[in-house]
């Protein structure tokens, strides 16, 4: 009986190609949308956390922050003396890099490129996990005297020098020219999506004198010695800075110290929320697909009811008719689910490549949307049929 019923179900699907196609289409779109969205969201989350872990787990970042409350004014920047104090007093700090950044246009011969110029010291390379691909880092004299030398990132090399070796050449930044002494190894995109290799690094003093014209330092990057407690270093640093910035006992910090774990948590929680949001939007399309199926089933219910009447009249048992419709519904919605999964996989791999995020296969969401679509198909395909099959054959035959 099962075999015969399967035969009947497949025949029915085959001879109602348009209806079958529309039924499948709703499920395909819904399933493909949900899986693609969630897969890409997962990939983006993974990409962010990968990039953050590439920054190193022992990094602390300090920025001036805003105090809230009456008489609010912008918190002051840091000074070179802060850097010295941290170096001297925070023993677990391995590298302490002051950072001053501003955008500027770099020019080499006829080419120019708008980039970010960062003023810092050699600790900057250590704290940021930078390695040199060619050349050298700053000498002590260059740092102290604020010489016009720079280490450039891979993107800047590409834009200004093409395939040439940049070390030893002079590039112009604003009004001064500056010797390229080193080339950084490429790091790729940052967690925030910016190109980390689009950078020119100079001694702090050079940037302060020639570009910003002030003694201020925008932020600090610290790396903590291997084995030392990050939390302890963070507490010490906070205490020291509160003291140096004359913050009273009952006042809030006017700066923020963040470690990479915190940054990672902040950023991945954002992408996770986005993933959920995308998933919810896609789930709506799955639902709409389900409603589409319902419509098609309801539109064809008159024809199907008569068909059920014919089958009953020539001696089909109610359960045979029901089994046939159940098989039809299951075959159609599983087929739709499978096609949806295939399309979603192709789309996810393609879009992940386009968006530069890793493709992560998530069996959970594949199974979930597959079974959800199957459930919708069965619900809307089977229950109208059940009502029709319980009619008297003559009433089903005369259904208008």
């Amino acid at each position: 009986m099962l075999w015969n019923t399967l035969l009947l179900a497949l025949r029915s699907i085959r001879r109602n190609l348009m209806r079958s196609f529309l039924t499948i289409l709703g499920i395909v779109i819904g399933v493909a949308a949900v899986i693609t969205m969630v897969t890409l969201g997962n990939g983006a989350t993974r990409a962010v956390s990968d990039q953050i872990s590439s920054m190193g787990s022992n990094l602390l970042m300090v920025r001036p922050g805003q105090r809230y409350g009456p008489g609010t004014e912008a918190a002051p920047n840091f000074k070179s003396a802060d850097v010295e104090a941290i170096r001297n007093q925070i023993t677990s700090a391995q590298a302490v890099a002051p950072v001053v950044s501003m955008s500027a246009t770099a020019v080499y011969q006829a080419r120019n490129w708008s980039t970010v110029v960062t003023g810092s010291n050699n600790d900057y390379f250590q704290a940021g996990n930078w390695e040199l691909a060619a050349g050298r880092s700053f000498s002590e004299t260059e740092e102290r005297a604020g010489k016009t030398v720079c280490v450039i990132g891979d993107t800047v090399r590409d834009k200004l020098f093409g395939g040439q070796n940049p070390v030893g050449s002079e590039i112009r930044i604003k009004q001064f020219s500056c010797e390229v002494i080193g080339l950084l190894k490429a790091k790729g995109q940052s967690a925030m999506g910016s190109d980390q290799d689009d950078t020119v690094v100079m001694p702090l003093r050079t940037v302060q004198r020639r570009l910003t014209g002030s003694q201020d330092i925008n932020r600090l990057s610290l790396s903590v010695r291997e084995g030392a407690s990050i939390d302890a270093a963070k507490d010490q640093l906070t205490l020291l800075l509160r003291e140096r910035r004359n913050i009273a006992e009952n006042e809030d910090d006017d700066f923020r110290v963040m470690d990479t774990r915190q940054i990672a948590e902040t950023l991945t929680s954002t992408t996770k929320i986005l993933t959920m949001l995308l998933g919810a939007v896609a789930a709506v399309s799955l639902l709409v697909g389900g409603i589409g199926i319902m419509n098609i089933m309801l539109v064809s219910v008159t024809e199907r009811t008569r068909e059920i009447g014919i089958r009953l009249a020539i001696g089909a048992l109610e359960r045979e008719v029901l089994l046939q419709f159940l098989i039809e519904a299951v075959v159609l919605s599983s087929l739709g689910g499978l096609i949806g999964i295939v399309i979603a996989t192709a789309a996810s791999i393609f879009l992940a490549g386009l968006m530069n995020v890793p493709y992560l296969f998530d069996p959970g969401i594949n199974l979930l949307s597959f079974f959800f679509s199957a459930a919708i198909g069965v619900m809307f395909g089977f229950f109208p049929a059940r009502r029709a099959a319980s009619l008297n054959p003559i009433d089903a035959l005369r259904h208008e």
């Binding site: 015969n4 025949r11 001696g315 048992l317 109610e318 008297n392």
Partner: protein
């Protein structure tokens, strides 16, 4: 009353609706039909002839009374048992053909055999033979949409007889056909009765068509008004 009748209706009533809106379509039908008969059931609209036909065909159940089919009390059967009775003993031809749309003639004729669980080869052979018998050899792979009304009714007849039923029930089989085609269909049904001994019950309101039957039962107002044999011998 000496030999047991194939079909025996006793005091059959059928009421549609309830209470004030109740309508009694059959008001006590007694009717006996023996194997091999060709009975035409006639009567004006609303006389209950189609209702009686549906009860005879086990497509509908009587409100009261008893219906014996080959000695079996049909009104005591379950829904599934009635379906099995239809499957094994009855064949139907309807006014509106009631073929499955977009399905080839061969597949339509095969359908009852699938429910009977016949193997594919036997099914194909029997369906082809039935189509040939109704004069549709060569039309096996046409769908109802590609066939004329007469041809569709022939497919329906092939579907009804492919299981070699004991009784063929035809409800206004020529109602949707022109006179000439109707005559052809009647000849076909008459031949099935004459040559294969299939008992035929046919509802019609056309005297020309009823003339093909050996016995004419006339319904009026939910009762049997007259029951007589046609003068011409078969």
């Amino acid at each position: 009353m000496s030999d047991p009748a194939l079909i025996r209706l006793s005091a059959i009533t059928k009421t549609f609706g309830r209470g004030q809106a109740a309508f009694q379509a059959l008001k006590g039908i007694d009717l006996a039909i023996e194997a091999g008969e060709f009975v035409a059931i006639m009567g004006p609209s609303g006389s209950g002839k189609s209702t009686a036909m549906n009860i005879l065909g086990c497509l509908d159940t009587p409100t009261s009374g008893s219906y014996e089919f080959e000695g079996v009390r049909v009104e005591q059967l379950s829904r599934n048992q009635r379906a099995l009775l239809r499957r094994h003993y009855l064949g139907f031809v309807f006014q509106g053909f009631n073929l499955l749309a977009r399905t080839t003639a061969l597949e339509n004729v095969e359908l009852p055999l699938i429910y009977r669980g016949e193997p594919a080869a036997a099914r194909h052979a029997a369906a082809r033979a039935a189509l040939e018998q109704v004069g549709l050899a060569g039309w096996e792979h046409h769908t109802p949409g590609e066939l004329s009304g007469g041809q569709q009714q022939r497919v329906a007849i092939a579907r009804a007889i492919v299981t070699r039923p004991h009784v063929l029930l035809a409800d206004e089989p020529t109602g949707n056909l022109d006179t000439h085609t109707g005559e052809e269909i009647m000849d076909l049904i008459g031949a099935l009765n004459r040559d294969q001994g299939i008992t035929v019950l046919m509802v019609t309101h056309e005297p020309d068509m009823a003339a093909h039957a050996k016995r004419v039962v006339r319904f009026v107002d939910g009762r049997v008004d007259s029951d007589r044999r046609n003068g011409e011998p078969a």
